[in-house]
């Protein structure tokens, strides 16, 4: 006996509406491939280029609690703003992010990263200097590489000290595509 897709969707929406989920996630198409997006009550907690939900579901459960469920409605706003961004109609996402499971240093790095504006770039060293840790460029790179919400927190805007395109969790092709979308020529 198979549960109809209608009943399945109604259950998932209701579970989210009643606040019973630790994390809601969904998949969404984009010009840089299918993205997995996930949110807690506190905000967006994952944007993943790996569209294989099984792995993401495990780490989301470990980070935020076992009640992880695919549910489309809680991610409507995220999906819409991402679409607007990819259409060139949005430069700031205006979304809350949930970085609670991260170590303090990584949260600091990502908070500073959020100040790098659309269409501009910075360097790992520049970010480290602005954090008051001028020698920590490598640690900043590590923190960015594990950015749980790429695109929305724009680690693609951070370049090597010589302005080269280096290291991106989602692959350099995607980094180049995102910068091109924002009108940055390298």
């Amino acid at each position: 006996m198979t549960v109809s897709s209608d009943l399945d969707r109604r259950f998932r929406d209701r579970a989210a509406a009643e606040g019973l989920l630790d994390v809601a996630y969904d998949l969404t198409d984009s010009p840089v491939g299918t993205l997995l997006v996930a949110a807690t009550e506190a905000g967006l907690c994952r944007v993943s280029f790996d569209p294989e939900p099984d792995r993401a579901v495990e780490t989301l459960a470990r980070d935020f609690g076992a009640r992880v469920l695919r549910a489309s409605r809680p991610l409507d706003v995220v999906r819409r703003r991402l679409a607007e961004y990819f259409d060139g109609e949005r430069q700031e996402f205006g979304l809350d992010v949930d970085l609670r499971p991260l170590p303090a240093f990584q949260r600091d790095v990502l908070t500073e990263l959020a100040r790098v504006r659309y269409g501009t770039t910075d360097t790992y060293g520049g970010l480290a200097a602005r954090l008051g840790r001028p020698r920590a460029a490598r640690a900043v790179g590590g923190a960015l590489n594990r950015n749980p919400v790429p695109i929305v927190l724009p680690c693609h805007r951070i370049l090597g000290s010589d302005g080269r395109l280096v290291g991106y969790g989602g692959g350099l092709e995607r980094k180049r595509a995102l910068l091109a979308l924002e009108g940055v020529t390298l």
Binding site: M1, T2, D8, A15, L21, E58, A61, A66, L69
Partner: protein, 155 residues
């Protein structure tokens, strides 16, 4: 040493068991009540999920909740009446033969017989599902079976 089975992400539990639980609810509550009972079952499961300490008996745990949902709903609706008639289904698994056999049993006996013979639940898990002792669960099954035999049928 006991192997610790961690509680899986809810998505996995839900995907693995939703169809079977839905089939059980259709059998127990009838087609027109199964959808509501299904939602209520998994909403209750979500509420209880954080308190689970092990992922070992999830299937039986979900049968437990589903059984309670139907019995609770029925008590609210009609304290003494029989369970609603079952709807017609197109794709029936073998154990669906129990449907028309158990249709006239009281709800606890019906759940007991269906879980025991339809889903092969061991008596310990059956007891948990019925919210009773294992002895009472065995009695519910055998009393259900006796009642069926008196009607000239056996599961």
């Amino acid at each position: 040493m006991m192997e610790v089975v961690t509680v899986p992400p809810f998505e996995r539990t839900y995907e693995q068991h939703r169809d079977e639980i839905y089939g059980y609810l259709r059998r127990l509550a009838g087609a027109d009540r199964a959808d509501d009972a299904f939602q209520e079952t998994f909403l209750r499961a979500l509420r209880g999920y954080p308190a689970l300490r092990s992922g070992r008996h999830l299937r039986a745990w979900l049968f437990t909740i589903a059984t309670r949902v139907v019995i609770d709903e029925r008590r609210r609706a009609r304290p003494e009446g029989p369970l609603p008639e079952l709807g017609a289904d197109d794709e029936l698994p073998p154990y669906a033969a129990l449907d028309h056999l158990t249709g006239e049993l009281p709800p606890t006996e019906r759940a007991a017989v269906v879980l025991r013979y339809g889903y092969d639940l061991p008596y310990a898990e059956l007891a948990a599902a019925l919210g009773s002792s294992e002895v009472a669960a065995r009695q519910a099954v055998s009393s259900g079976v006796r009642r069926l035999r008196r009607k000239g049928i056996s599961p």
